[in-house]
Subunit: 348 residues, 2 copies
Amino acid sequence: MASEDGEVVKNVQVIFRDYVSGFPKETDMEVRESTMKLRLPEGSNGLLVKNLYLSCDPYMRTRMAKLDIPGYVDSFKPGSPITGYGVARVLESGHPNFKKGDLLWGFTGWEEYSLITAPEACFKIEHTDVPLSYYTGLLGMAGMAAYAGFFKVCSPKKGETVFISAASGAVGQLVGQFAKLFGCYVVGSAGSKEKVDLLKNKFGFDDAFNYKEEPDLDAALKRCFPEGIDIYFENVGGKMLDAVLLNMKLRGRIALCGLISQYNLEQPEGAYNLMNLILKQVRMEGFLVFDYYHLYPKFLEMVLPQIKEGKIVYVEDTTEGLENAPAALIGLFSGRNVGKQVVVVSHE
Amino acid sequence: MASEDGEVVKNVQVIFRDYVSGFPKETDMEVRESTMKLRLPEGSNGLLVKNLYLSCDPYMRTRMAKLDIPGYVDSFKPGSPITGYGVARVLESGHPNFKKGDLLWGFTGWEEYSLITAPEACFKIEHTDVPLSYYTGLLGMAGMAAYAGFFKVCSPKKGETVFISAASGAVGQLVGQFAKLFGCYVVGSAGSKEKVDLLKNKFGFDDAFNYKEEPDLDAALKRCFPEGIDIYFENVGGKMLDAVLLNMKLRGRIALCGLISQYNLEQPEGAYNLMNLILKQVRMEGFLVFDYYHLYPKFLEMVLPQIKEGKIVYVEDTTEGLENAPAALIGLFSGRNVGKQVVVVSHE
């Protein structure tokens, strides 16, 4: 595909227009056709890749605001393509870790072809006997967030009670399955009957409820956890966190993975029940998956056999085509997606 | 003093009237004169003690409400004396750990004489070359809270920046001094010029501010910590916690020791900035000192020489007489006390 001179190809891109406040809209992004010369710049140690699958993740909302937090990912750049996790095929490599034809997952652009300038942060895909799209979720960032968040941040013990919010999402469905396999009692919340059915019947949660149909979240949690919650895997924040704080057990742990209910509010909701952290000696810890990528080989070693034996399943919500990517991303914030939201750029 | 038959003596008591909501008042307690037979009940393995010093602690406010939290201390019993930490002299012992004449610190009643029914939770006082009243604070629960909270919960490293709220209080003044001796940069907040002077000039804090005179707590913290806060030792909650969350550094730690600003509110204030826990991977942990009492001998080994060498100082606010104890306790919530609030029952 790449020639000595560099073939010039059309390159459909999803451009980030400008910083967003409040609920993001599709029109905060623009799908634009540009062109790209399929050749690495002279002396580049980057990668020229063809993008295959892109990942829509709630944390991307935080990148739509102007942030400057050391150690956190950068904000999107107005006028440039959205960036995020994806699966791509290497067309040309200037980096010793990769060669032409390799598959990788890592940070790439929302466009057909990308120049990846930080290949050292990408992972070569070695196992292709699973759906490639899994590397946007189960076998990528979401899987690592579930693995590290549950096993490392929550320090689980067999028999403990685990509650997961946004439990049918990219991360939640995995945390629940990991916790069940580990020997915990697992309950999840989600925002529709369909998702609750998934939790109970597909992912094997012990119980689940639709938070939109519970007038009293505290009562719902007391019904599901008469003895209280040892571990809360937090994906949503807001009123759910406050209700959970009332129901934590002594020496419980809360892993803060995301607060999706808060990302689009001009002013976040308050958490009023923090005193329970003291009364029950609870640890609440925010974490970012980037800190745990050194565990990726260990994670794969655990999870690949589980996938092949059918012990871990994964539900994806697949959107075809870059032109539909903005709607797919925005849909996360209304809970439109059922399972992990993936955008297919190309089936090759 | 105790005779074979048991001398009957007058016993002034501070009685807890009924559960409190909102700001507690002196009249929620009643000072009453009763009598007591100075003799252990037949077969008791308890202790008959003469109380010398009583401790006024903010956590006692939580015990004025009807709570039922496993692992936390019980609520006060309406119609019975207030209970809390104190220093006492053993008059008669039914327990092998103690003998007549011993000094102890531990849970006792707000009265002249008490029958301690759980002597195994009391500590024998072995070192009397320091002020005895120190065992209500520096060498008692407050000291252990500062020691365990700082060294165990906060996992400090040399050179880190430490912020302490209610920093001139029973616990805060010690956390600051421990942190300075350990090699941290230490800033405290307090509620008067006098207290701020203490922090800077007596306790050796690097900086301090009067939160009542700061129109913008976020700005005050940014002024004191241009690079951010590694460790926050939380005694107050509310707006201060929210401002601190904005100023935490990557992988910071927050030890929740108390939330005194919230105890008297019908509805606690919200914490709006929890997203910072994720963005900066911060751990926030509530702790109770009871979990750490096994470290008491190690703590004494560290702190007794520091006291004798003048490296650790301790400021107490002493109130004479049980009849003034209710006012002393209530005063904690308006910040009337300067340093550790102690009530002297008897100088013997």
